[in-house]
């Protein structure tokens, strides 16, 4: 497996200081320095260890159900006049790509001798994936979740509790994902020795963006093999993924970053429209700054206060973007588009009717841009279907008859 591949020659991966171009780094208070320093020094050693890779691979295969299928979506392809494949991360155990990362990080935490796991969650998908692997490994699990999200994502809160996790309400600030992340970081400051923080997205201080991208890179590693089998080439013309913090996009893009002929498309949450004041389209609305200890693009006021984004999808409702993606945006390596709530909803209903698949609200944002991309009929397009839509049924039902 290629999770420990040497990327030192690539201009799209981190440099030796943990930066993607001018983005990245580790802007942590001194209280967190030892934790982050330990991870920086050990993560590549652990990821390169054949014993680690074997264990990771076995769990992904037997527990998660990988490789996830690469499905040729015939009716969707007819509609958009291209050869569209769906990377079915929605079929993973726990229903999304998030579990790839949590499996990897819990194995890492064990190797570092940690006894206790903390995590942040927005919609609850990463929280559920973390609670799941903690149950699997018999480790204590504390998940921070904004009190507003606890209310609107009740089923996932119950799932986490059933799996044995303690769910702690983040009551500070805007009481959503950003604040849950703050609380998780504060917990880590207060428990520096025995605790590992399983961050759920390709953001946060170095080495998290690279570590999470590598653990998610199984997605593009599989796509390459599966495409070769199905089309005779490992390289598609397009890879399309939704992006909040950017972990599924990082995984889907990872092994294509240096293949410049592959067009990478990242779709942000436009909310009610990029300039409506209710949006999470960070590359459009953000400026460079520091969020969650990473230098990247983020939405902020004139005074440098981090603002609250908006999206119908709780998983994309993040005011920043992982530093890798900020760099892909700035260098033009990836194309950044945005889909509004309405476009995403329409795309979700369409996928249900054309292919019999209910996508997660997040993944529907990626699907929503198929209509806007200038495909040729022979173009091979891979859309990362990052999660399934069960958790979004209430939202879907509410909008169905509008």
């Amino acid at each position: 497996m290629d999770i420990a591949i040497d990327t030192s020659k690539s201009r799209y991966h981190i440099d030796k200081n943990g930066y993607y171009g001018r983005f990245g780094g580790a802007y942590v208070p001194e209280m967190l320095f030892p934790n982050v320093d330990e991870l920086q020094h050990k993560y590549m050693e652990v990821l390169s260890d054949p014993a680690f890779q074997q264990e990771f691979e076995a769990l992904l295969r037997d527990y998660v159900g990988r490789p996830s299928p690469l499905y040729f979506a015939k009716r969707l392809s007819e509609k958009y006049q291209a050869k569209i494949f769906l990377k079915r991360e929605d079929l993973n155990h726990t229903g999304a790509h998030k579990v790839n990362n949590t499996i990897g990080q819990i194995l890492l935490a064990k190797r570092l001798g940690k006894k206790r796991i903390i995590a942040e969650t927005g919609a609850g998908q990463h929280g559920v994936a973390t609670a799941t692997v903690c149950a699997l490994m018999g480790m204590e699990c504390v998940v921070y979740m904004g009190s507003i999200d606890i209310e609107r994502q009740a089923p996932n809160v119950s799932r986490m509790k059933m799996l044995g996790a303690t769910v702690v309400a983040a009551t500070s600030g805007s009481q959503t994902l950003k604040d849950a992340t703050n609380e998780a970081i504060r917990d880590w400051i207060n428990n520096p020795v025995d605790t590992h923080y399983i961050l759920g997205t390709a953001a946060g201080p170095h080495p998290y963006p690279d570590m999470v991208a590598r653990l998610q890179s199984v997605i593009s590693e599989e796509i390459r093999k599966q495409l070769l089998e199905k089309t005779g080439s490992e390289l598609p013309d397009y890879v399309v993924a939704c992006i909040g913090g950017g972990s599924n996009a990082a995984g889907a893009f990872f092994h294509y970053l240096d293949e410049e002929e592959v067009k990478l498309v990242a779709v942000e949450a436009g909310g009610k429209g990029v300039h409506s004041g209710h949006s999470a389209a960070t590359t459009q609305l953000g400026k460079i700054g520091i969020i969650h200890a990473s230098k990247t693009l983020l939405m902020q006021t004139e005074d440098g206060q981090i603002t609250e984004p908006y999206s119908i999808s709780a998983g994309l409702d993040y005011p920043g973007i992982g530093p890798m993606h900020a760099h892909l945006y700035e260098t033009g390596r990836a194309m950044f588009l945005d889909a509004t709530d309405d476009e995403a909803l329409a795309a979700a209903y369409e996928l249900c009717k054309l292919e019999g698949i209910i996508p997660a609200m997040e993944s529907a944002h990626a699907l929503a841009k198929l209509k806007d991309l200038p495909f040729n009929p022979d173009d091979v397009v891979v859309v990362c279907l990052s999660g399934r839509g069960d958790k979004d049924l209430n939202t879907y039902i509410r909008h169905m008859n509008k």
């Binding site: 001194e30 209280m31 207060n190 020795v193 520091i290 902020q300 005074d303 440098g304 206060q305 981090i306």
Partner: protein
């Protein structure tokens, strides 16, 4: 002119009392009245917090004071407006404590120049990495005679403490335990750490912060170092108290007597 922080430590090596307050708290225009009362009732140094939406190193009390200050309309610009001319009344050293993002957006050089112009003596930015400071900002701070103060913790290695000490100016901020502000951790376990700091014979004076809340904890800290910093306990008192002057008088009185 010699930096006021250096003047202070040249004149006073023991029992230095640094009190933290949040700018624009409890009310927007309380910044200067609070500072004035702190000086009058015996604070040796004032650490003025610039409120931030996402203060990672702070516990709930200081966070909430920042949230309230932001709601009151506090911003970096407003703070500098409030500080214009404050040196006519305040002679104790003043340090601004905040997070890097608002300072980056303001522009580090513009910010430091503004500090110098207003008469601010030092800055604490807990999320500014040492290497980035050394490479990009050190000259700006030094040219403007504004001190950048670094933090160390019980988990910081001796080697790193020495590096931080060599870059820090004014004093070194020793976080008493691995925690966010306002956590009650037992200080008796920290003796070994305090002794380690003593033995390192650092070039800077050392002030202990985090967990200092009353006379007992203040006196303990002062046994090992040049003094201590009180934040959360004071913000609590300020939030509960009626008028600023008597709250500050009572609070400092209880620590010093």
């Amino acid at each position: 002119m010699q930096n006021r922080i250096d003047q202070l430590f040249a004149a006073k090596q023991h029992g230095v009392l640094n009190i933290y307050c949040t700018a624009g708290y409890p009310e927007l225009n309380d910044t200067l009245p609070v500072m004035t009362a702190l000086q009058q009732h015996g604070a040796d140094l004032i650490e003025l917090g610039m409120p931030f939406s996402d203060p990672l190193a702070d516990g709930p009390v200081i966070q909430d004071s920042g949230t309230r200050a932001l709601k009151n309309g506090m911003s970096v610009h407003t703070l500098f407006e409030q500080l214009a001319g404050f040196r006519e009344r305040i002679y104790v050293p003043v340090i601004l404590m905040g997070y890097l993002n608002p300072v980056l957006l303001y522009g580090v050089e513009a910010f430091v120049k503004k500090c110098a112009e207003a008469g601010v003596d030092g800055v604490i930015l807990p999320d500014l990495p040492m290497a980035e400071y050394a490479a990009e900002y050190k000259t700006i701070f030094e040219q403007n005679n504004v001190h950048l103060i670094f933090l160390v913790t019980p988990e910081t290695s001796d080697e790193r403490i020495r590096q931080l000490d060599s870059l820090s100016r004014g004093f070194l901020y020793a976080v008493s335990s691995s925690s966010t502000t306002g956590k009650d951790k037992d200080m008796s376990h920290q003796q070994a750490y305090f002794e380690r700091l003593q033995q390192l014979k650092l070039q800077n004076p050392v002030l202990i912060g985090f967990g200092i809340k009353d006379k007992t904890t203040f006196d303990t800290a002062c046994r090992y170092t040049n003094g201590a910093i009180i934040g959360t306990a004071f913000i609590k008192a300020l939030g509960e108290g009626k008028d600023i002057d008597s709250t500050v008088r009572t609070f400092i009185g209880a620590i010093k007597n």
